[in-house]
Subunit: 584 residues, 2 copies
């Protein structure tokens, strides 16, 4: 086995042509086995096997620095840079993260997981090299899907002015997560169709030199071109055409679902994890599609992740021109939503918590200053969401809830969520974001009829005394548990409140609590700094009321153990009751 | 006078060719007089006079919707849409804002002030029109300088897929605020040089149709082309070449300083406002340039606003390749800074508070997760900064200070600022932002020698009892006044603290205060929600300590009266002392 002898890039350089082909096959076999067992990014890695071998054959990492965009295509790179065991042996599968990680290897330069950053990061590496009169190539790897993101396009423009070595490998597999969207993709097609010779060329128009490789899954062709551009003293784009999912037929035939896979049966490609559990994603898609049929002014928007709102291909087709995928372009998604609202449409931009932070300025400047009635369901904004450091969902409350004019809602149940979503779409006064609950879906079976236009009106679920518990969104169930345990252990009949509104406080309710309560507890599924609880505490700042805020410490977590994190932050009913005892 | 009879666009349509020329001259005369008296955006408006006349002659606003990028070129538009008096008569100069404003006129569709948003906003207007099967043209106006911003480039890509009417007027005056930067500007030059006929064309590469107008200051030529593209059923770019500052020689000869002008003498162009006051901008530039001479690894970065860090043309030339202007591209500026730091350079990205919010994701994902030692001085982060709703500096604490790993510092004096700046540049552990003080510069004359690596260590300036006042950054002088008044009126010798650190609390100092203090007062020059004070209040949540947080209400303010806003938020020593009295 060739792969087993690869301790680092220098071993790749020793391989003969035949062995390089064998290595490619072995990498794919290892990937197939590992991904079938634990899931991960499938298509991007299968398509980039040959390019990775060629890169490490030609360039001298880490002196030459390779920066991966998103880095969801870095598994082969990890295998060739001392981390093969994490792909060959099941016991070591968890030794590495799914993204580049400088803590793992000197061949990784950044921890990344968001798209469109590689060119700009590489510009920085190159700039530092130049002012220090250092050496080495800087290579940015970016997929065609990531190119539509503003930061990537800015990066192309800036790279062109560096006037020194930077090599931008555009890995063009004619796919984003779903199909690509936007005018530039016609140009990429034209370049593919003309073997790179079309005179109108996006990269040249951005001021960059350009070479084209028709088969980016041909190691030898890539080696030839990489050797040509190595040590270039000018910024250059190497546009290579690869096949996403190459080497595994189901992934080639169904590129979108095979972008990222759950564990599956290698023979059939069928997912091993069967679930009939209703998700908020599918729920949202179905709900919106129904509404769209009644009302042509509803427009659902995604920035390259249509399934976050449940819009699988079938639903997209049914929605027709009422569904817009702007490609990876969160800034435009938000600004466009503002424009739609201002012209009488009803825009709904569904987005992951971790990606909403790519549009802070648009939410503030384009939407909130303009008081545009957009609806933004925020998914996976929860500790129960993704667990990679680049994809956490515990920062959105701090980010969104301090922007003026925005109404940020925290539903607890499915019924509450749908009622809020429906209200938001139909109203024309407020920009609204809705924090889709994390964790297990709660269904009460009871229709919610509240008029959410009465801003900042909390729901008192149970009236008690002494202690009041405000359980926000997905931490409401924890509030219920705390209440129960307070009753059992301290005989306290606590007041239980579902605040519903993250962005404002219910002064009337909070003031009334002063009458017969000594302690208010806030629970939120996000970091404490800049969060919901602090606003409550400030309200009581000069009163006799004591306040305990629960949530997460302001820190970055990576591939954490859920229970450990909950424990460390005392987010357990028994610990909270312990704290209450100590205070009362 | 033609301008005096223009009540709205319909009056423009009635004008004969001769009168249109007269109108252009009259608009420039009015602009010259008004701007000489009260300052404002000069170059952008003088260059866009003819285009504005042609737009209103051909299109039917407000049915046809014109969206201005930044909208700093909208003064002629305001004159032609019912607001001429605000430019003709000094008594009415303040009737209008310096940006488009839907509260003023149905011909303005958005309140904007940040760049690169117009195409994406226009995409939204067009999309809503289409799903509702409505009518009318949608026209986005964008300058060449704004094109380098990611949101604008995303917008071009998305617009191309709309498949219906959208007209993007690229107003190319070959300038940003300063000179343009980036590879795309070579393509724009090539297009200008070839009368738009070069086969490599950025806009066509983005999938858009394209027409070129060689003289964008020729009303008749523009009318002809606008008439051609009116009611197009495909997205199209109209690339017009204009002269920035046209009609006033000093502005043509010195385009950068005449982008925005203070009141000036019309005859000479000399500024009427003479100031010898040292600014933090100039101070920063001089300091950095000195350091750069000693250390080639220092790189100063700007995103199209070089003078925010005092880098006027002379300093830029002296800094050479150690100064980088990425153009309007804040995302790339931040990511590039991270790359520079990771490769051993010392990056300093100077930015206005209102524009740092264009790079939230890059600060979190590209910088803070990667613990890159970048230095970000944040200018005009203060109520004493700009007063237009789109340019306020009171939100950055809430935005930045809740991002993990970031160290956000609040200096009080010039000496403290320079010490922090120097420390930050030389250290390699932390991403650091520094909130450059607003208001009058304070100089103590005393060198600051503190090692700021000892994070979250507050400076106790005066030890007292009963009341402790934490005066953050530019509100430290207010803290001094409160202390003095507490002494005078209540005989309280308050403790005075300069916290210096916004992003973390000094638990030791805060705990010690419990011994002989009943009340802690926090003062911050930003909104209270998500701010500094709330963290202090949370710390004391379950103690006997009372806490009063002062800062601004979470709201958007526009062209406010400073004193009124301070009063409304009780940011006056006498009001604060009144509050203290009520509590103690």
């Amino acid at each position: 086995m060739v792969l087993e002898i690869i301790q680092g890039p220098s071993d790749v350089k020793k391989l003969a042509k035949e062995q390089r082909l064998t290595l490619a096959n072995e990498i794919r076999s290892a990937l197939l086995k590992k991904l079938s067992k634990q899931g991960g990014h499938f298509g991007p890695n299968f398509g980039f096997v040959e390019a990775t071998i060629a890169l490490h054959y030609v360039f001298d990492s880490p002196k030459d620095k390779i920066v991966f965009d998103v880095s969801h295509q870095c598994y082969p790179h990890k295998m060739l840079t001392g981390r093969k065991d994490a792909f060959l042996y099941e016991a070591h599968y968890h030794d590495v993260s799914g993204y580049t990680n400088p803590l793992e290897s000197e061949h990784d330069h950044f921890t990344v997981g968001h798209t469109s950053t590689s060119i700009s990061l590489a510009c920085g590496l190159a700039k530092a090299r130049d002012v220090k009169q250092g050496e080495g190539n800087v290579i940015a790897i970016i997929g065609d899907g990531s190119l539509s993101g503003g930061e990537a396009l800015e990066g192309l423009n800036v790279a062109a002015e560096l006037n020194s070595n930077i090599i931008i490998v555009v890995n063009d597999n004619d796919m984003s997560i779903a199909e690509n969207h936007g005018g530039m993709y016609r140009n990429l097609k034209r370049l593919r169709d003309t073997n790179g010779s079309a005179s109108c060329n996006l990269f040249k128009a951005m001021g960059l030199d350009y070479v084209f490789v028709d088969d980016g899954n041909d190691v030898e062709k890539l080696i030839t071109v990489f050797q040509q551009v190595k040590d270039t003293n000018k910024p250059i784009v190497v546009h290579i055409v690869t096949e996403k999912g190459k080497g595994y037929q189901p992934a080639i035939e169904n590129k979108e679902p095979w972008h990222y896979c759950a564990p599956f049966d290698i023979k059939t490609g069928a997912s091993i994890i069967k679930t009939n559990i209703e998700s908020y994603n599918d729920l949202t898609g179905k709900f919106l599609l129904e509404k769209m049929k009644q009302d042509t002014s509803i427009v659902a928007i995604t920035a390259g992740t249509p399934t976050v709102m449940g819009f699988v291909e079938k639903l997209r087709n049914e929605a027709g021109n009422q569904f817009v995928d702007v490609g990876i372009a969160e800034e435009t998604a938000v600004a466009m939503a503002s424009g739609i609202a201002k012209n009488g449409g009803k825009p709904v931009f569904g987005v992951y918590s971790t990606f909403i932070q790519r549009s802070y300025d648009q939410i503030s400047h384009d939407v909130c200053i303009n008081q545009s009635a957009v609806t933004i369901p925020v998914f996976a904004g929860s500790i129960y969401g993704m667990r990679d450091v680049t994809h956490l969902g515990i920062y959105d409350i701090a980010m969104l809830s301090n922007i003026p004019n925005l109404v940020y809602l925290a539903p607890v149940s499915k019924e509450e969520y749908l009622a809020m979503l429906d209200w938001s779409i139909e109203q024309t006064q407020y920009p609204v974001a809705i924090r889709v609950p994390g964790g297990k879906m709660i269904s009460t079976g009871k229709q919610v009829t509240k008029d959410f236009s009465q801003l900042n009106t909390y729901e008192i679920v149970e009236k008690g005394s002494k202690v009041a518990i405000l359980g926000l969104g997905s931490f409401y169930p924890l509030a219920e548990k705390v209440k129960m345990m307070l009753q059992e252990t301290l005989k306290i009949e606590a007041t239980l409140i579902n605040p519903q509104y993250i962005t404002g406080i219910d002064e009337q309710v909070l003031t009334a609590l002063k009458d017969n309560h000594d302690l208010v507890i806030t629970l939120e599924d996000g970091i404490l700094d800049g969060g919901f609880g602090e606003k409550i505490t400030r309200f009581y700042g000069t009163s006799e009321m004591k306040v305990l805020n629960y949530g997460f410490k302001k820190e970055f977590l990576d591939r954490f153990d859920l229970n450990e994190v909950l424990l460390a932050n005392r987010l357990k009913e028994e610990l909270i009751v312990e704290d209450v005892k100590a205070i009362l």
